[in-house]
């Protein structure tokens, strides 16, 4: 059942003051994973408004604190605001489970920048779109990369988050007997002594970490301090500038992040520089994705799509590459990024920057 969408839309006049929702943990503990994306979205809108001063768009934040129990209310409130015609997010899989049914009822199109739980696509939510590959695409690719390192013993650690554990499970599956041992970290963990001991005594030459920078960075530093010399491989959860700056050049050197995103082509994108100029900081995790996704919505609005239904229809036929990520956005019926478009790249930390290593061929 479709809502009316943008208020008072007529063929003649453009509808202005539309809003793009941004849904995720904007405060509380997990906001570090979402705020960079919010900043990028803000920046995209700012750039858009500079060009469309007569008919502006704004970002409407919905701060779920990452908590599923709060997501429902925010989603209801977003749905109730007819100016909100599109939604970036929800950022996490858990809150997506509660919020998306509500968006579905109201026909509000969403693209998530970071909720990678595969099963989200199985709910026959027509409004659902995923701006990144899910765990099924990235996991095997990461495993393939690790196999390419000729590692005979791989240690797999995850942070027990839906994202981290999902990814690690796929990696384990694909690596099979190469996995010598596994362990699980926890949210906000600071002291990794026990895992580090296990890793160093296991003789593993590669380690896969499913999780986010926040724990990955101290973990990696503690591994290095304990003399671990093997390769540290993570998913897109660590593919951000903080992983570099927090871990520090020396220790992060050689760490690998896989990401279902192609390197930003310098010819097209000035995203990183823009972000740096705007926020005086390197773009954090998922900032580039959120930037591209916001721009997709802005493009639709720029073309005069002013209802939820219009924008939903716009997404269905969308097929273009984003400037920040280089990913070509095209969705299948379930809302997954077209599998052929999901290209997983490996990035290696070199001299304090993520350098594209190679595109990982599909298994």
């Amino acid at each position: 059942k479709q809502d009316e969408g943008g208020s008072g839309s007529t063929e003649a006049g453009k509808v202005c003051d539309l809003k793009i929702g941004f849904f995720g943990a904007l405060s509380a503990a997990d906001s570090g994973l979402v705020l960079p994306g919010k900043q990028a979205a803000d920046m995209a809108v700012k750039q858009y408004n500079a060009k469309h001063a007569d008919c502006k768009v704004s970002i409407q934040p919905y701060d779920s604190q990452g908590k599923p129990e709060l997501a429902g209310g925010l989603a209801t409130s977003a749905v109730g605001d007819t100016k909100v015609v599109a939604m970036v997010g929800p950022a996490f899989s858990g809150e997506s489970e509660t919020a998306n049914p509500i968006f579905q009822q109201a026909g509000l199109p969403v693209i998530t920048q970071s909720a990678t739980r595969p099963s989200l696509a199985d709910n026959s939510w027509t409004i659902f779109h995923r701006g990144v590959g899910n765990d099924f695409s990235q996991g095997p690719a990461a495993a393939a990369y690790i196999k390419g390192l000729n590692a005979q013993k791989v240690f797999v650690v995850d942070d027990q988050s839906a994202y981290g554990a999902g990814l690690a499970d796929e990696v384990k599956k694909a690596l099979g007997p190469l996995v010598t041992a596994t362990d699980k970290a926890t949210d906000n963990q600071q002291d990794f002594s026990a895992i580090v001991t296990k890793v160093t005594s296991s003789g593993a030459t590669a380690l896969f970490y499913g999780g986010y920078t926040e724990e990955a960075s101290p973990f990696l530093k503690q591994l290095r301090a304990a003399g671990y010399k093997g390769t540290f491989v993570g998913g897109d959860g660590i593919y951000d500038a903080n992983m570099l700056s927090v871990t520090g050049k020396a220790d992060v050197e050689g760490a690998v992040a896989t990401c279902p995103c192609a390197p930003a082509t310098t010819a097209k994108g000035t995203f990183v520089q823009d972000f740096q100029a705007e926020y005086n900081a390197a773009p954090g995790v998922y900032a580039d994705v959120a930037y591209d996704l916001t721009n997709i919505f802005l493009e639709a609005i720029g073309e005069g799509k002013s209802t939820r239904a219009d924008i939903q229809a716009f997404l269905t036929s969308y097929n273009k590459a984003g400037s920040a990520t280089g990913v070509t956005y095209k969705w299948d019926a379930k809302g997954e990024l077209d599998p052929t478009q999901v290209r997983v790249w490996a990035y290696v930390a070199k001299d304090g920057a993520w350098a594209p290593d190679k595109e990982i061929p599909k298994a």
Binding site: S27, K67, P68, G73, S93, G94
Partner: protein
């Protein structure tokens, strides 16, 4: 300042005297009107009827979040506060892990009613998901049982040790729930939890709209208030207060203190579990990251902020700890405050959304300094605390 305070006090005592003097029928009438008002709260129509412009600032409505959902959240927190109030307020047992029982209730409903629960998909323990209504009593019973099982060994400990043990217990529940490969499916959680039954006009009443849930929880709260009142005005309630005041003396006067402490724990746990079961139905999704320790602390703050040992204090507290931070989100909109400032090139998010727990913390401190007895203590407590104030040492 003092003048204002004395005047406010005069006003308050005047009001409470006037209330006391009202005939019973008028009291009941007023209470009924108030209850009707509560039921009307989330309806936009209600505000429009009153002629209040919704788009702009009005004092009650939360503009940044769905009002009905906020009220429902307040509702299940009030239930939690009512439960914890029995434990902390009446029996005087410091429980820092109360949210653990909420988790037990929520997970019971979730695992039994969701078709995605591992019971059905992996273990095949049962054939088909239960309806919500059938799972509910079991949820309450299991959390009650959890209260007894926890209380049995730990209620022999003294106050502050009890605090850390209950806290640890709640953490242990969360850690168990967090295991991805165990029954509760960790952070990935359990989806498609059943809603309560009932339909109107072919459509289910309880779905994603929070309003019916709010009405449901409000009804449960009203029922609970009567039951708890019955309890605290009986031998049981007297025993609890006696235990709080002097446990040894109580036992020597023939009060089976241990038994009643366990009862307090179990009753509180049962109510906490009830709250969790209601919530699970509404949220439709449960995962381990919901049950953080902060939640337990927030419930405790609710009870003490409201006024420990008073049912209505607990209700007020439960309402405020959810509502105030939500309402603070809208504050920025009301006054048109900037969301961001730049200091030395660095952008700082100063939105009320971002800073609301900072303000909330300040509010907690300020309220407690000026009203250490809580906002709505029972009269006896209030008197005690006023008396204590006079007994302070010189210059201490």
């Amino acid at each position: 300042m003092t003048d204002l305070r004395t005047r406010w006090r005069g006003f308050r005592s005047g009001m409470s005297q006037r209330w006391d003097r009202l005939p019973k029928a008028s009291k009941i009438g007023l209470i009924v009107v108030f209850i009707v008002f509560l039921y009307a709260l989330p309806n936009k129509g209600f505000y429009e009827y009153l002629g209040l412009p919704l788009g702009e600032y009005i004092p009650l409505y939360t503009t940044r979040n769905d009002m009905a959902t906020v009220l429902f959240q307040c509702g299940y927190y009030i239930l939690l506060a009512l439960g914890l109030n029995i434990v902390v307020g009446y029996a005087g047992l410091l429980d820092l892990g109360f949210f653990g029982f909420f988790a037990v209730g929520a997970y019971t409903v979730a695992t039994l009613t969701s078709p995605t629960s591992k019971i059905f998909t992996e273990y095949n323990w049962l054939d088909s998901p239960w309806p919500w209504l059938v799972a509910l009593p079991l949820a309450i019973a299991l959390s009650l049982l959890a209260g007894v099982i926890l209380g049995w060994p730990v209620l022999r400990l003294r106050g502050d040790y009890l605090a850390i043990v209950t806290l640890g217990f709640a953490e242990m529940i969360r850690i168990v729930a967090q295991q991805n490969d165990w029954i509760f499916n960790g952070d990935r959680g359990i989806t498609q939890i059943a809603h309560p039954p009932g339909s109107s006009g072919g459509k289910p009443i309880f779905a994603f709209d929070a309003k019916p849930y709010y009405w449901l929880v409000l009804t449960v709260i009203i029922g609970m208030v009567f039951l708890i009142r019955n309890l605290v005005r009986s031998r049981v309630g007297r025993a609890w207060v006696a235990i709080r005041e002097d446990e040894d003396a109580a036992e020597l006067m023939g009060v089976p203190t241990y038994k009643f402490k366990i009862w307090a724990f179990a009753m509180g746990a049962g109510i906490g579990g009830f709250s969790g079961a209601l919530w699970a139905g509404q949220a439709n999704f449960v995962n381990s990251s919901t049950f953080r320790l902060e939640q337990s602390i927030l419930v405790l703050a609710a009870v003490l902020l409201g006024g420990a040992g008073n049912i209505f204090g607990a209700i007020l507290g439960g309402f405020l700890v959810i509502y105030v931070p939500e309402w603070l989100r809208s504050i920025g909109d009301v006054f048109g405050l900037p969301e961001q400032v730049r200091i030395a090139g660095e952008p700082y998010d100063v939105s009320a959304t971002n800073l609301r727990y900072l303000f909330f913390g300040i509010i907690l401190i300020v309220v407690m300094i000026f009203r250490p007895q809580g906002l709505w203590p029972n009269r006896r407590r209030a008197a005690e605390i006023k008396d204590r104030e006079k007994e302070a040492m010189v210059g201490a």
